[in-house]
């Protein structure tokens, strides 16, 4: 047929760029690039009835951190600045009072924790405490554990714990986590001067 012999006319691609620009601008406007970061925590499950007999914990194994409505810190009955909290918490966790922890470098004081396994950090804040302060305290307590793990990893493996690959070094991470288990307990907040 005669029609088939005619060459197919070329499609005009001149407006292709315009269409692509339009799409590009649409994506620029409707999307964001910010990555979400934050401190991961786990909440305790909700129970209607309170636990009848909480297992007794020795006073020396509890590290109490209180934050009042003026964002002031009271740590182990002592007024502290936020910048000192990390060091105090690390001393407490790493104390090794009963000598059962072989990797600890603590002073073994009689009024501080037995070993990292038994050491519990108890955090209580007021309803009037600011969220910024709360996150800062949480951050310091988590950092205390991470720093201790870092030091241990440095001694045992000559590497930084924070920079380990969660998939490649799964075993090592597990071992170090078990050496310093993170035990942060949160009490119901007070309501004084809120």
């Amino acid at each position: 047929m005669a029609r088939n012999k005619r060459a197919i006319p070329e499609i005009n691609a001149g407006s292709m760029a315009d269409i692509a620009f339009l799409l590009l601008i649409f994506y620029l406007v409707t999307t964001t690039m910010d990555t979400d970061k934050g401190i991961n925590r786990k909440l305790p499950p909700y129970d209607e009835e309170l636990v009848q007999d909480p297992p007794p914990i020795k006073e020396r194994n509890i590290f109490t951190v209180l934050v009042n409505s003026n964002d002031q810190l009271l740590v182990e009955d002592e007024y502290l600045e936020i910048s000192q909290l990390r060091e105090k918490a690390m001393e407490f966790i790493d104390n090794n009072g009963d000598g059962s922890c072989e990797h600890c470098k603590g002073y073994g004081m009689s009024n501080s924790s037995d070993n990292p396994d038994k050491a519990v950090i108890s955090l209580q804040n007021d309803r009037g405490t600011s969220y910024g302060m709360y996150v800062k305290v949480q951050n310091e307590l988590v950092a205390a554990y991470e720093d201790l793990r870092d030091q241990l990893a440095e001694r045992e493996y000559g590497r930084s714990y924070r920079e380990m690959d969660p998939e490649e070094d799964e075993e090592i991470i597990k071992e170090i986590k078990n050496a310093y288990p993170q035990k942060i307990s949160e009490a119901e907040p007070l309501n004084i001067g809120g």
Binding site: R41, P44, G132
Partner: protein, 164 residues
């Protein structure tokens, strides 16, 4: 003379733009891959707290956001200045949180539900009373994995100065 005179009125050849669509498409694909859709229109002002021990939230589809803060300027006539909760695109009261979380969880597939993370994006000046109430509601709704959204400070010493 045998000098060849150049034509002076010769027009400049047009720039070849046939590769322009390719370049723009490349940019387009880059943005499509590297960005995410803006989730909500923020009605509360959120000035995130700063922290150093932060982890990146992987898999956006598993994250549900709860915003808390003072209403922004244009909503202050109607809603006042006291910190409020925002869920999706609207202001909400504390009693709505539990239903919201359950509804969000229902929308996810069975195997993804245990990995659901609640991201609390609150202003740093919000009082802990409100945050505690939110946390209690989350516990009641069995949403126990939470994340306190924070920023990495540019200068670590700024973390300990009193005005922050």
């Amino acid at each position: 003379m045998a000098v060849i005179k150049k034509k002076k009125d010769k027009a400049l050849p047009a720039v070849n733009t046939s590769a322009l669509p390719d370049i723009v498409f490349m940019l387009l694909f880059f943005f499509m891959v590297a960005t995410v859709m803006r989730e909500v229109d923020l009605k509360v002002a959120v000035n995130k707290p700063q922290a150093t021990e932060i982890q990146k939230l992987e898999r956006k589809s598993l994250v549900t956001y709860i915003y808390a803060g003072a209403p922004r300027q244009k909503y202050q006539d109607k809603f006042g200045k006291a910190p409020r909760i925002q869920l999706n695109d609207a202001f909400a009261s504390i009693d709505d949180v539990q239903a919201f979380v359950i509804q969000e969880r229902e929308a996810k597939s069975e195997e993804e539900r245990p990995m659901m993370t609640m991201s609390i994006k609150a202003d740093k000046s919000v009082k802990m009373g409100l945050i505690t109430d939110i946390k209690l509601q989350l516990r009641k709704a069995q949403a126990l994995k939470i994340n306190y959204s924070s920023l990495q400070p540019k200068n670590v010493d700024a973390l300990y100065s009193s005005e922050n």
